[in-house]
Amino acid sequence: MKRTLSKARPSVLALVTLAASLASLAGCDQSSQAYFTATSAPKAEIQRSIDRLDASLATAKDEQKEDIRTSIKNLEEELGALPEKQRIVTTIVDAMFGTPDKPIVLSATGLDANKIRLAAGPTTANQDGNTGGLYRRHCVHCHGVAGNGAGPTAEFLNPYPRDFRHGWFKFKSTGINEKPTDDDLRRILREGINGTAMPSFKLLPAAEIDALVEYVKYLSIRGEVENTLYKRFDDDGIKEMLAGAMKGGEAGDEFRALIIEDLLSDEATGVMATWKRANERIVEVVPRPEVSSEESIQKGREIFYGKGGCVQCHGDSAMGDGQTYYVNDIDATRSNAIKQLVNPSFPMQALKPRNLRYTVIRGPSRDIDLYRRLRNGIDAVGMPAPTIPPEEVWHLVDYVKSLPYEFNEPGPTQSENTRAN
């Protein structure tokens, strides 16, 4: 990467920077509609986050205090450097991807522009109930216009809606730290996520679901690029590249192509690359061992309470009372200050292991889904994979599936309901 950048002569870079700052002024005006930018009003949000952390200092335990102080310091630094960063990053991202309402689909992303067009923009309903602006109609009030998981309803939900901008997805067929396949996203849209506020959109026409899947990917990629630019803003040499990318016309295009090439398509961590390889990272499912289900459940129980280590989090009674992080799942995985841009003003939520005795298993509940989850662990919430041979995971699947029925004690029904018999 450094090699690429060193090609650019300093004098040219200076000119480019000047032009870019002028251009970005115009750009700023354009993006003044706060809801288009992924980082809507970040200044206020960071400030609120600082305030919240300050307030939590009083009640925090001693060992936490140091962490909190560091966080505050980082945030304050972030706040100081923000306006300039924000201006630049927003301009570049808008130039590359457009706004969520008027998306630009880069060929490098491999997304289908037609589908995205169906999902983006304001809702338009006609008399037959066909609509454009599907995302606005179905998703926006939780996931937010920019897919930042901060729509007006979001704050009230437990758990909070997914912030697509991190590219983290919990329920998928691929491995940990991998992107989901289209089928995975489609399944979530169709089946909903049991145990959360994400409802099923099964009855939407297949074309509309596909359009929404494509649009979610678009928002995710756009947001991740934005986050990446923020994160690596101060890296050596990147500033020059960014400055180039802010140019209009062909020169700017070239620089943006550079960004895509250098920053985002990196085989290991690049945004584009990870999305493209998702289909190849599907976790293999080994055949089910041929034992009776009773036996399998018994074995599963032994693993659960034994070498699987499940009991440590899910508790002695598998009711999810083993431990609780009193942070929300976004906080838990934030690694640097910029991630605080995610809904920092939302109140903390307890991140609890699932109560497995409850009839609802969160997320898709086909055998194969459970297998993959138990085999891989769950992204974004930190459920680790148990260290057991792949075929034994099936026993665990059977045991977990049997848990709600093991204690099948329906509560008393109301007396007035004479109809129930």
Partner: protein, 609 residues
């Protein structure tokens, strides 16, 4: 607190003679006169202005609902950018729930009930029965001042997270109790419950006072069966309020405790939503519905009986003919009140209540249609053979009858349990209660404002503009509400932010757009009324004591009446509806006119004073 009661003289030239009347004799500060006034007339006007103000709020909330139904998820005009910058100006779904919840709440608790009982009840009761004030003026003042905490509480619901309480005006648990069940079930719902409690206290204070006044403070000769129908309506309403409202207050306290202390009266064991901690203890969600409707069904009569009374007075006056069947009217009002206590279950036919109970409630409900039918026939009988003056109040009063027929008849569909299975919670219901409450009660209220305006402010409202106001309102309200019957027949459910998801209802969008534009027209029309109202208050022609040549006792007092109401001892010689009586040459024979040539119109002789 004694002061002179003044006639029409002396201060006639002064534009603010109302102020002078009240001030005369005692120099009271503005606050003493208008804020902490114990004069029933001032309190009545305080109620009138407050409720009309809230009427505007309620109307605008309704427009918000209509906008979403006509143009779902499109940018909300004017307010969109301000309220919903996070989602490009389109309304959030929880805001929609708050809209219809607060529309109903405001209209029922802050407009219709207080404008009938609070404004007209306060203003008219002492005047029409010949008393100098309410039995307990201070209590009366308190009944108004308990509305203000309610105003504040309901206002607060808008300011807390979630933009307003959103469990419907029925506040059904568990949605209203489990705090995390919906954004609007948070603090907003607590404020809402507190608001309802304050309204309850206010109504209770008012109603016991009204009853005492009507029982103990009638003018000599004013027997129970010489009271105008308005007073009968107010009297029965007061009884309903006094006996039904405490139940809601108790239930409201319990719901409040459920929310604040998790007592769980109305939440089933283990109930949870949105991954909140499960409730312990096993209450019953249906219990709330029983308690709520035990109040709220009588409440629908609280919202119509005074209107029926006022309409009876207006129709008799402008048909220049005695009210047809006065006693049957009284009995039917009382019958409605009595039956009103045993029909609450018809709101719960599909709620999971024991279906056998449903049958009993259906029978009772069918029977309660009867007194309403009798009243309609009697109004027709009054008009029949009369000498009808088409004044603005009369137009509104007849509109009440015409619209109440629709509202009453559509009620029969709901009373029929099997039919209710289909139309329950659809727009058929919405059509029904808007025909009764808006096309009915609100028409009567508007008529009553035109009718008693001269008594309130000493000046007449402009009749021509009044008629324009009437005509446009009448057309637009039918355009808004009548098609709701058809929507209901398709099964179009209430309270859905976007019903067009469903194939069954997708084709109803154009009709909803038509209704929305009618609703906008209806709200806009009220601007005419507002201008007429305020213009006439200051510049309308002087009214004199009895501009309509009516019989009621209030018309013998000065307009507006001074402190103490009457400048002579009123004595009642006959019933209130002796229009066109052969005993007199004029076509009316006021209650206070002594009989000519020693004739007696019946009733006991008044005592000398």
């Amino acid at each position: 607190m004694s002061s002179h009661a003044l006639g029409d003289h002396g201060h006639a030239a002064h534009a603010h003679d109302l102020h002078d009347h009240a001030a005369h004799g005692h120099q009271m500060s503005f606050i003493g006169k208008y804020i902490f006034s114990r004069d029933h007339k001032i309190i009545g006007l305080q109620f009138l202005f407050s409720t009309l103000l809230w009427f505007i709020v309620g109307g605008l909330l309704a427009l918000g609902i209509r906008w979403q139904l006509a143009y779902p998820w499109s940018k909300l005009p004017i307010l969109g950018d301000m309220l919903f910058s996070g989602e490009a100006g389109q309304m959030s779904p929880e805001f929609y729930t708050a809209l219809f919840t607060m529309h109903a709440t405001v209209m029922i608790f802050l407009v219709i009930i207080p404008i009938l009982a609070g404004a007209f009840g306060n203003f008219l009761i002492p005047l029409m029965i010949g008393a100098d004030d309410m039995a307990f003026p201070t209590l009366n003042m308190l009944s108004y001042w308990f509305m203000w905490p309610a105003f504040v509480c309901f206002g607060m619901t808008f300011l807390t997270a979630g933009h307003g309480a959103g469990s419907g005006w029925t506040s059904y648990p568990p949605l209203s109790v489990i705090e995390s069940a919906a954004p609007a079930s948070g603090m907003a719902q607590t404020w809402w419950l507190l608001g309802v409690t304050f309204v309850g206290v206010s109504s209770m204070l008012g109603s016991v006072n009204y009853m005492t006044t009507i029982i103990q403070m009638r003018a000599p000769g004013m027997t129970m069966f010489r009271m105008p129908m308005t007073i009968w309506g107010m009297f029965i309403t007061a009884i309903l309020q006094a006996f039904a409202l405490p139940v809601l207050t108790a239930a409201g306290f319990m719901q409040l405790l459920d929310r604040v202390w998790d007592t769980g009266f109305f939440v089933a064991e283990g109930a949870t939503a949105n991954n909140a901690a499960a409730m312990s203890g096993g209450g019953q969600p249906l219990l709330w519905q029983h308690l709520f409707w035990f109040y709220s069904h009588p409440a629908v009569y609280i919202m119509i009986l005074p209107a029926m009374g006022m309409v009876s007075d207006m129709i008799a006056c402008f048909a220049r003919k005695p009210l047809f069947g006065y006693k049957p009217m009284v009995y039917s009002i009382s019958g409605i009140a009595g039956l009103g206590f045993i029909v609450w279950g018809h709101h719960m036919f599909v709620s999971g209540m024991n279906p056998v109970l449903g049958v009993t409630f259906m029978l009772a409900t069918m029977m309660i249609a009867l007194p309403s039918a009798i009243k309609v026939f009697n109004w027709l009988g009054t008009i029949w053979g009369g000498k009808i003056h088409f004044t603005t109040p009369m137009l509104f009063a007849v509109a009440f009858v015409s619209m109440f027929i629709i509202g009453g008849l559509s009620g029969i569909y709901m009373a029929a349990t099997p039919v209710d299975i289909f139309i329950h919670d659809t727009y058929f219901i919405v059509a029904h209660f808007h025909y009764v409450l808006f096309s009915g009660t609100a028409m009567a209220v508007m008529g009553a404002i035109y009718f008693w305006f001269p008594k309130m402010f000493g000046r007449m409202m402009h009749d021509g503009w009044g008629k324009v106001h009437f005509l446009l309102t009448f057309i637009f309200l039918n355009g808004t509400f009548y098609p709701m019957h058809l929507l209901g027949m398709v099964g179009f459910p209430r309270r859905l932010a976007d019903p067009y998801h469903y194939e069954t209802f997708a084709h109803l969008l154009p009709m909803n757009q038509f209704m929305t534009w009618c609703a906008i027209g209806m709200v806009a029309t009220q601007i005419i009324f507002a201008i007429n109202f305020f213009y006439s208050m200051f510049y309308g022609p002087k009214a004199g004591r009895n501009p309509w040549h009516a019989n009621g006792l209030e018309w013998c007092a000065p307009s507006p009446p001074g402190h103490g109401n009457f400048d002579f001892q009123p004595i009642v010689y006959r019933g209130p509806y002796e229009y066109g009586s052969p005993e007199t040459d004029e076509d009316y024979y006021p209650q206070w006119h002594p009989p000519k040539q020693g004739e007696s119109s019946g009733g006991e002789e008044p005592k000398p004073h």
